[in-house]
Symmetry: C2
Subunit: 272 residues, 2 copies
DNA sequence: CGCAGGGTTGAGGAACATCAAGACCAGTGG
DNA sequence: CCACTGGTCTTGATGTTCCTCAACCCTGCG
């Protein structure tokens, strides 16, 4: 399921997202892409990208594939606390934290780029705009994490799963890995259940309900959403946590546009 | 409920926390405290610190009191997505984000310090260690947000509320606003229910259960925990998300210590 | 062949939400 | 002074959501 689209396009998923969000211009993107190509690892599904308790020595960027952040609870269970899409920066705490609080595991095969402390310092000095873009990414992921909390706390199983789908579809769309409202889907129902705080059985039944409503189709490791707007309607999804122009997202019902307003219009002032 | 302890001690809650976490030394702390004293507002209970959709122009630091981050859902309900304790930095996205994704509301009276973009830039240039300490705070709050997700997704009502209590007690302890495992508690049961993703009625019944087990006592706007270790045991609480020496926390059952190991031992290398 | 992992379905019960009502208290306008 | 209001806490009755336990099927794999 590793896409080779980055061979056809000049930009990685991360820079695609940052450009679409109005954070990077294409010349700065080239710098970042070159850095991302320097130290790439391929991690097979189920394998850790890093473990809870590790001492962070670098930041990891998901180039292709999906990964989960998970936390080992005191009873031994692993609780998913976030999902990483291609184009996501996986923890920026290299500078300060002595230990990472939660591990990262590949779901399906994943290509990961690594940037060490020294390279990052040089980047910040020589290309401060690129450094700032990485901080933007960090802030953005904090917003996403808050939306994740709202999804768990405020919604029942069906809208909750729908809300997760909307969020992942939107993020993957920004990263450029969605075609016709469909994307790679290496997750098992157990994975999805853990992410949603549900049992696998209940998750299964809820998925069937979504399938019967023609809101999702899953086959061959690909998930498709025939009617993203209806999915967003069911979930009560609000894309404002993504800090992007809602017109870029596949929920063409106008509601998200109302809420987000024209975020991009003010992006010119970001680095003023 | 505004404490005046910061008159007796030289340090604000934020610097107290950063010193205890091994991030700041006392001389750098003086710089930060001076900055925190420059622009202080008093916000009464129920009033917004900032609103969802605002354009961020400064970062806000909670000096005293409690606040909640909340997100307006598409059906109009306000969903709590985080709780801010004294000593917490309330969103660092001033640099990049065009809009804030979730508002901040005072629960009980709150003293807030404001640092503008320019003052922050000067701080970063003249005192890079203090700037780094603020980034540490940001990373730490991301960890706390992940633990929040785990709490919602993995635990039932009783351990979930207990887990929230443990987290808040631990954070307030680091900030220096806890005495004898007791702290100010301006939250209504409706507030608590929203934070835990429960109805107020079920929250009420669960609190009664905790009270009957002698795990909490609430009176006069103060909450006390007669047996923090038992509370942590019930919750299955793991303090590793706090990135501090577990010996500083009031859960003296040895378990947290096992998990966190000696985090502080490696703090000397943080700025290497 | 056996076996493990993933998906699916059913029955029963526990956890939680919903609806409803009442107690208590602070404020507030008559 | 009173009545009235709204907010908070509390408790009960009832229904829904979700979990638990238990199967069973399928596939890939040793």
């Amino acid at each position: 399921m590793i896409s080779d689209e980055n061979v056809r396009t000049p930009h990685s998923r991360l820079t695609t997202k940052l450009i679409r969000s109005g954070i990077l211009d294409t010349s700065a993107a080239v710098v970042l892409d070159a850095l991302l190509a320097r130290d790439v690892r391929l991690i097979e599904g189920g394998m850790p990208v890093f473990e809870q308790g590790d001492k962070p020595e670098s930041i990891e960027i998901i180039l292709d594939g999906w990964a989960v952040r998970e936390r080992v609870m005191t009873d031994g269970r692993r609780q998913t606390v976030g999902i990483l899409c291609n184009g996501d920066v996986c923890d920026f705490n290299i500078f300060m934290m002595a230990r990472v609080d939660s591990g990262c595991r590949a779901v399906g095969p994943v290509r990961v780029a690594r940037i060490g402390r020294q390279a990052l310092n040089i980047l910040n000095r020589q290309h401060p705009r690129v450094g700032q873009a990485l901080w933007w990414e960090t802030m953005s992921s904090a917003s996403i994490q808050r939306e994740w909390v709202a999804n768990l706390a405020a919604r029942r199983a069906e809208p909750r799963i729908a809300g997760l789908f909307c969020m992942l579809l939107a993020r993957a769309t920004l990263a450029g890995s969605v075609k016709d409202a469909a994307m790679a889907w290496p997750f098992t129902q157990v994975d999805l259940a853990s992410a949603c705080g549900l049992t696998a059985e209940h998750c299964n039944r809820t998925l069937r309900s979504l399938r019967e409503r023609d809101l999702m189709v899953l086959e061959d490791g690909t998930i498709a959403f025939p009617d993203p707007a209806a999915l967003a309607e069911l979930a009560g999804f609000d894309a404002s946590a993504l800090h992007c122009d809602p017109a870029l997202l596949p929920f063409a019902n106008g509601r998200a546009a109302d809420i987000c307003e024209s975020i991009t219009s003010s992006l010119g002032q970001v680095f003023a």
